[in-house]
Amino acid sequence: MTISNNPPAISPPTCELDPFSDDAMNDPLLVESQMRDMAPVVYLSKYGCYAATHYSSVSEIMSNWETFSSAKGVGIYDITAPEHQRMRAQLLEMDPPEHTTFRSVHNKVINPKFIRELRERFYDASNELVSGLPKNKPFEAISAVAVAYPMSVFPDLIGVAEVGRENLLPAAALTFNGFGPNNEILARSLEAGQKAQQWLISQAQPGAIKNGLAVQTHEVGESLGLSPFDTTALVFGLLSAGLDTTMHGIGWAIYLLAKNPDQFKKLKENPELARPAFDEAVRLGSPVKWFGRHSTSSSVIDGFTIPEDARVLVFLGAANRDGRRWEDPLEFNIERQTSGHVGFGAGPHSCAGQMLARLEGESVLKSLASYADEIEIVTEPSFDISNSLRGLHSLEIVLR
């Protein structure tokens, strides 16, 4: 006889909330906390899928790729179902061992050693940009810093030609909106981004970009036995996943430092905190709201049963703001031990470019801390409306 101390597993409670409604878009933290208060896993009746919002359930699902597969898509729909059929995103929508070779290309090209060697160049670039910002005069910081800085370093690094760069953001926005439900937001994004996405696909082809990491990605991929189609998908992934997310991380960091003068003061006193400050902003802001998985077998997560062949959305931000894991979760504390936050994901699909994002975030925050004594908010921010990203659209500030 087996004696178990665990209570029997039960079905996740049904939740009628809609994390993609207009209300939720305007106040995502409210919906997320309502879901989180119900259970570690809930059933979203409107979409017929499960949602995990606790740190424990989210990290377990993301790490257990065998039970929670990415191969049927990482959006809200099962992309193998006839009504939602689309081509899968290579790498992102694959499981090991197939995933491993694709990931290895990124690991070899954007490896931590290479990124360390970019340090000086990236810091020079952020100093140049930040030292040109106005002082004692209001300006819009998202376009002037959070967007401008990655745009000044990332496309060059990948090797993207100057002409056509305006396509990068609408194309990326479409990629991230495309993971969500078939709603108004996606319709608008399709209109704004479909041509841009075609341009991005053309840029991702072997030979289209003549230098930089795009070329290396094709070369390393080929050497590992990947086809031109496969390496095109990898370059497409780099171009569409590497900008928006970092911009949102920087946007959050500027906003949170402006909102918390004591933390900006700490950063000024110790510029080495720039890097942890960026991670804390990624934790608290969580630029990627959620990703989807598909269960390959029935399992019990935090005492709740998730059946086989079900879609499961993991809410990264909800996990990163879960009071069961984080002390004063909504407080921005740049000295917090943030290791283990899931803002860059977790498990085999954790963000391949996270060390590059950290370098960009660290550089720009260091530059800001040495250039300005204070950051004041002039107008509270407006937020981007996106099915799967969360970040600032505009924020007017004054630097003193």
Partner: protein, 108 residues
């Protein structure tokens, strides 16, 4: 109980009682060993939880490195050696009691 010892760059050492099932990295982070930064939280993406295995009661640790871990160990801030491991990939079990690792003085 599993005792693990971290030897710091300055020669001082800290012995911790580690809970089984956690990774060595998690034990270090939870107990404030500052040299173990572990930015990616254990998903083999950052190479900032590098350690040198100085005494391994099982004798198996160095041989159980995975392919991705090896890839990451080529990118550590302090050059990796034959006895290098990423501490996020070492799962604590009782047989490891007595483990001694040296932490490098740089991870980023």
């Amino acid at each position: 109980m599993t005792d693990v010892t971290f030897v710091r760059a300055d020669g001082s050492s800290t012995t911790l009682t580690a809970q089984e099932g956690l990774s060595l990295m998690q034990v270090a982070v939870q107990n404030g060993i500052p040299e173990i930064i572990a930015e990616c939280g254990g998903s083999l993406s950052c190479a900032t939880c590098h350690v040198f295995v100085e005494y391994d009661p099982t004798g198996e640790l160095v041989d159980s490195r995975g392919a991705v871990e090896n890839e990451m160990l080529e990118c550590t801030a302090v050059l990796s050696k034959e006895n290098s491991r990423l501490s996020c990939q070492i799962k604590i079990r009782t047989e490891l009691s007595g483990l001694v690792v040296q932490v490098p003085d740089a991870q980023i």
